[in-house]
Structures are given as C-alpha cells and as structure tokens.
C-alpha cells in the first residue's frame, strides 16, 4: 500500500501548488507575525536607549564584580609591609583580621632584627605611625610618613627606642606565587616569571626590566598592582607592600577571634567540650561554645536565624489570617452564591483595592504604624493576600458544580447547610491548596519587603550588601533562604498534591 502513495518530489510540488491556501498561512497572519516581531525589535532598541544599557554596562566596574563574587566563598588575609627609609620594615594586618589579633601565619616568613634608633614623634598625634588607610598615597602629608624625618618642625620630641624591625619578608601565596621584600627590593614570582622592583621607602617604585602581563603600573614611579588571579593580589608602593592572600572558605564560621575556642581544630574543641577543664568557671564548656557560636561577631548566627524565623512567621501568619478573612468574604463576592449584584461588586472591588495597593505600600504604611519588625510585614502580607485569595476563592466558587448544591437544597436544607454540604466539599481542597501556594510564595516575597523595614531577613541582607565587604554573610543568608524556600516548596507541593491530586503544580 505504501508504494502506491509514495510520490516523487515533483508530484508533491504539483499537489502543493494546487492548494496554496492549505500550505501557506494567510497573508493576514504572516503580516501579524512580521508586525509583532518588528514591534518587539523596536521596543528592545528603545529600551536599550531608555535605560542607556550600553552606556551603563560599558562604565561598570567589572573587575570588582569578580572580587565580590569571590568574596562569597573566600576571604582575604592582608599583610601589609611598611618600608622605612632605611629599608627596614614593619608588618601590619587589617583590622579584624580573620587570623585574630596577633597573626603569625606560616606563609609569611620574617627575618627580624633589633635596632636602636632615634625617632621623632610629632607632638600632635604622639604616634609615628602613618594614618594612611591602604593604597591611596597622598602627596599632601609626607610629614606623617614613618620616621617623620623631613617634617622640619620643632614641635615633635625625639626619643630613643629599641625596636624589632623586619629586614626580610617572604610572603608565599601559593606554590608558584611568592613575594620577597628585602633591602629595598621587592621580588615577585608568579607562574615562572619574576619581577624585581626597587622601592625607595618614600613614594617611587621602579620596576627592573619589563612588566609581565600580571603586573600593571599606570605611570612610572607610581604603584604597581600585581594580580595573581584566584590566589589574590598585591600592591607595591614606594613605602608599602600590601598583599591580599585569598583563601577558599568561610573564615571563623563557628568561633570568632575573641572566642577561647578560636584557632583550635575540631578535635581539640570536642575534647575541650567533653573532658576539658572549665574555661569559664561559671558555666560548662559546652554552653560557652554554644554561646560563642550564637554570638559570633562576624557571622551573627543567632541574629540571622531569628530574622529568618521572622520571615517565615510573617509569611505563615499573614497567609493564614488572609485565608481566614477571605473565606467568608468570598461567599459574598461569588455571584452564584450571593445573587446580589451590588454586594458582589462591592466585595470584589474591595478585594481589588487590597490587591492593587501593593504589598510594598502596605509594608511602608505598617512600618510606620507598628515600627520596623515582623508585625508590619505580617500585616502587609495579610492585607494584600486577603485581596488576592478573596479574588481566587470567589472565582473558584463561581466555577463550582451546581448539582450538589441543588441536591442539598432540594431536601429542604437550611441556607447554611446548603453551603456546608453542597458547596464547601467542592472548594475546600482548592482553597487550602491556594493558601498553601501563597504561603510558599510569600516566604519569598517576605524577604524583599523586609528590605524596606518590614522585618525579617531582608533588611539584614540589605545591610550586609551595603558595606560591600560582607559578601560571605550574604552568601550564608542566601543559602539559608534557599534552603527554607526549598523545604517549604516541598511541604506545600506534597500537601497540595494530597489535597487536589497531581494537577496541583
């Protein structure tokens, strides 16, 4: 049979040409497709211009984006070597260094020497330490540099000090990356290439030889930036070498640097808790450890968990109250249950009002009424969702099967009994399923209204991001949020498919 219907291509074309109307769409339809595509292209071009996307993306600081992203899962330790005019050095770590107050990491090797010298101390500050933050060198205050020798003013007093200074320092970032500073020479080795830079202890850096690809210097004499990729980076200035050594992981996640458990391995901590001497006589080591974890200054576990619980509670209570209030109202809004046009319209428009004054506006208002906190967020979710759930419930009621209702009515049941036995069994699973869906989706939206002050983890997230230096905390909170959302997603999906079958999602 198949051989009889097998056609040659020529024949197929012949048949096709007899019925052009079947094989080609109407010109109307084609025109519409073309118009829609053209409109879309015009709109995209317009938006590109309207938001000046090209301009903004072009001016963006993409280098810093990589650093911020790396901060999510790693941390930096920043040894900073200050070089004096006599080529001796002092080392300094950033404030709140993840290595604790007196870091002495094994990857920084120092040769020390004790010298006695006369130091001029400016009277105003009483300190010979340069107040400069890190990399930005200021030509306006050369007098405040270490030693302050050319300050020239008679205000300072001189003092003879015995100091331990560093004569040679080797910072090893990883196997192929190393920075050595000694005798006014900075030698950086990275990936088999070596760069030697002469520093004069003041403000000029002179590279010897050509700069490799990983080193940049904007103008001769100015600072040289060395980028070592994932291992970190370093900046070499005339009087200062600051290194950023990047380590993978979250620093001090359990115990912060003030904790007595800081720097101990898990086994040590465990043996301390189980059998060690009490660190604080007043309480057991276990409760001390737990307390130290909860009040970890860097990670603030207790605060984060409380805020997350607030978010969950906001969504839960808000949705529950909303469904409780929407439940009686939707019977008034459904035109088949309450055949009164005016009542239907009034209730429906009321729902529309609650919905259209957005959750965000409600959140702002309630934050003013109750003060910042979960009560505001809860009320905002309650108000908005009363509108949304009411609308959905009313639609569900309007779509019910009338036969059951008529059956109950025909045996002479009272109006309330008609609703209870004729209507409710049909819609209750749908109602519950929709409430569950909104519970889950509100857990997500509660995060964002939190950021405007309505309680929960949103504000904490926002504050952590504002500083641009706590991205690891952001990552931690995001992980917790994702976890909670996934758990609730599964619970809600499981309950919903039990309620109304697999169709629910």
């Amino acid at each position: 049979m198949t051989s009889a219907t097998r056609l040659s291509p020529l024949e197929m074309d012949a048949i096709a040409s007899r019925h052009p109307n079947l094989l080609q769409g109407s010109s109307n339809k084609r025109l519409r497709t073309i118009l829609i595509s053209a409109g879309l292209v015009v709109y995209l071009v317009f938006s590109w211009w309207f938001f000046s996307i090209g301009h903004v993306l072009g001016n963006a600081n993409w280098g810093i984006a990589g650093t911020y992203l790396a901060d999510w899962v790693s941390y930096e330790v920043r040894p900073e070597l200050k070089i004096a005019r006599d080529r001796t050095m002092t080392i300094d770590y950033q404030r709140n260094s993840p290595l604790g107050p007196n870091p002495n990491p094994s990857w920084v090797e120092l040769d020390k020497e004790t010298v006695t010298r006369t130091v001029k101390i400016p009277a105003a500050t009483g300190q010979a330490v340069k107040p400069k933050a890190s990399s930005s060198f200021s030509f306006m205050t050369p007098g405040s540099a270490l030693g302050g020798a050319d300050a020239g003013t008679a205000q300072g007093r001189t003092e003879t000090q015995t100091q331990e200074v560093i004569t040679r320092a080797v910072v090893t970032l990883n196997r192929s990356t190393k920075i050595e500073v000694a005798d006014g020479l900075v030698t950086a080795t990275h990936g088999g290439e070596t760069l030697t830079m002469a520093v004069d202890g003041q403000d000029t850096v002179t590279p010897q030889g050509t700069l490799p690809a990983w080193a940049t210097q904007k103008r001769p004499g100015e600072k040289i930036t060395l980028a070592f990729g994932a291992a970190g980076w370093a900046e070499v200035e005339g009087d200062d070498v600051s290194v950023r050594n990047r380590f993978f992981g979250w620093a001090n996640f359990l115990f912060d640097t003030n904790s007595p458990y800081f720097g101990k391995s898990y086994a040590e901590v465990l043996s301390l808790i189980t059998s060690g001497e009490r660190i604080e006589p007043a309480r057991s080591n276990l409760s001390l450890a737990w307390n130290n974890i909860l009040y970890n200054a860097e990670w603030q576990h207790l605060d984060v968990w409380t805020k997350l619980l607030q978010t969950v509670v906001m969504a839960f209570v808000g949705t529950l109250f909303a469904s409780l209030v929407a439940f009686p109202l939707c019977f008034l809004a459904a035109r088949n249950i309450t055949p009164n046009f005016l009542t239907n319209q009034v209730v429906k428009r009321f729902f529309d009002f609650l919905r259209s004054v957005d959750m965000f506006i409600w959140a702002l208002f309630f934050t003013r009424a109750f003060g910042p906190g979960p009560l505001a967020g809860m009320s905002a979710i309650f108000f908005t969702d009363t509108g949304t759930l009411g609308k959905l419930y009313a639609e569900a009621l309007e779509n019910i099967d009338d036969k059951q209702r008529e059956g109950v009515k025909s045996v002479g049941a009272a109006p309330l009994a008609v609703q209870r036995f004729g209507v409710l069994p049909q819609v209750l699973p749908v109602f519950a399923s929709q409430a569950l869906y909104f519970w889950e989706s509100n857990t997500r939206s509660a995060t964002i209204i939190g950021a405007v002050g309505a309680g929960g983890i949103g504000l904490k997230l926002w504050e952590a991001m504002r500083t641009n230096s706590d991205w690891e905390n952001v990552a931690y909170m995001v992980l917790l949020i994702l976890l909670v959302v996934f758990i609730f997603d599964s619970i809600s999906n499981a309950l919903r498919s039990r309620l109304i079958g697999q169709k629910a999602h």
Binding site: L44, Q310, L364, M378, I448, L461, M465, L482
Partner: protein, 320 residues
Amino acid sequence: MATSMLPKHLSDNGALVERHWQELNSRRRLYSFLGLAVLALALSGSLWFANDSNAGKFFDRLPHFFDFVGDLAPRDGLEIFRAMFDLPSPYDDGSFKYNYPEGRLYLTESFYIPEYVHKMLETVNIAIFSTVIGTFFGFIFCFLAARNLMPNPWVRGLIRRLMEILRAFPEVVIAGFFLAILSLGPIPAIAAVSIHTIGALGKLFFEVVENADMKPDEGLRAAGGNWIERVWFGMVPQVLPNFASYFLLRLEINVRASTIIGAVGGGGIGELLRLSIGQGHQAKTLAIVILLFATIFAVDQFSAWLRRRLVGDQAFQLAQ
C-alpha cells in the same frame, strides 16, 4: 416516625458495621483536632514571637494605628493633584516638600512630563522589559525541561534545578549585587526581576508543554522532522496562547516587583515613594500612592481582559 419501628438491638453484623463507622469517625475527629491544635499552637507561637521581636508592641501601637492617616493628610485636597502633575503650590516656602515643579521632564520648550508619571513609566517599562527577557529565556529553557520533548533526564534535571534556583534566589541580593557593580539606575532592578522571571515563567511554560497534545509532534516525527522543527511546528503553535497568558500574568506581578526593587535602590517610583513617606511629604506620598494604585489596577484589568481573550476562562483556573 419510622424510627420506633426499627429494631433496638443490632445483629452482630450490624454492630460490626456500626462499630467500624464509630472508629473511623472518631479517628477522623482526632486527626482534625490534632491538625487544628498544631495549627493553633504554631499560630500563637508565631504571633508571640513576632510581637516579641517587633520594634513596637502590637497592643501598644494599636491606638496609634491610624496615625499615619493623619500624617498623610495634605493641607488641601488639591495639593495631591498639584503634586501629581508638578504644578506650583501656593504653600511653596522653598522647601523640598512643596517644591512640586522640580523634576519636570521637558520634552519640548513648554510640554513636560510630570516627575512621578515619568518615574511610573520607567517602573512599568522595567517590568515590561524584564518580562520580555524572562519570557525569551524561559521559552528556550521550557522545551529542554519538558519530559515529553527532552528524553535525557540529566539535561532535564539540570535545567529544572537551574530554574528552581533562579526562582528562589532572593531578588534583593541580585539587585544589591548589581547595584554594587553598576551605578545607581534601573539596570539592577531589570537584572533582578528578569532573573526571577526566567525561573518562574520557565516552570509554568514547561508544565504547559508537558500537558500539550503530542499528535502534531508525532506527525512531524513521522515525517522526519528534527528536534527544532518538532518544537517549532508541533509544539509552539498550540502552547503560544497559554504562554502569552502567562506572560501577561507575570507582567502584572513584575510591575509590583519592580516597584519594590525600586524602593531598595533600583530607581523608579518605588524609591520616590519610600523617600517621600520617610520624609513625611503628605501630598507627594498620596500622589504617588494614587498613581501606583491606578497603574497596577489598570495593568491588572488590561491583562485580565487580554488573557480572557487569549485562552478563555482557563486563564483564571490556576493560581499565579
């Protein structure tokens, strides 16, 4: 009544049925009771916790509940109108509060767009643009995630997990991250809203695709069509109305989302509203609230009307 004619004592079989029914009934009651008890416990615990960790306590603050209404009353009703359309105010004392004409966007010498209308348009445009981007990527992903078109469980699982993460990732974080890299402006909001939209629409889309009629696909497969042809000619024509309906539904949600994102630093009307409430500018706040309300209402109604035209009443069966 006939009841008196019934036997007083049941036979053994009757008693068994009766007892069984009683058992079932009491178990059901127990479950309902336990469920309600757990719910009540969770609710009261939650309420206590929320009240306890709130800045102001519920019952302390309740008498002040409507204070904000007083805070919002402008000096006269026309002020709202003036604030909305950037007309000069008779109360202008040089302060920012009454300085409505500032912020006019002049298109020609004399014709201007009022500041709030302009910002509102910006917010709506952020929503439309992000929905278009989200729809584009959701459209591509959904065919890779649908069981009936992508037999490879690894690809399917990967795309589904990806969409789940995009959907659940807090929008605040995306906006904040892009805000840190880019300068202030609408692009962080666009990024945040579109990334969320990809995940949300992708999920809805692939569910539509999985429920689609496979006969056109079979026909194309029999005629030797490749995967792209099967998708394009067999699947797309039948799912397009539903996709369009979900696009509109998402647009409604995104108008709200882009307002909120605006408030946390993404520009647009949201930021102005937050500032104006914070600084107690009554007329300006009311003007923005009315504008926002009208816009959201209009978008909702328009989208509902269009969706009803596209897919009929089916558009309203599903929750968002």
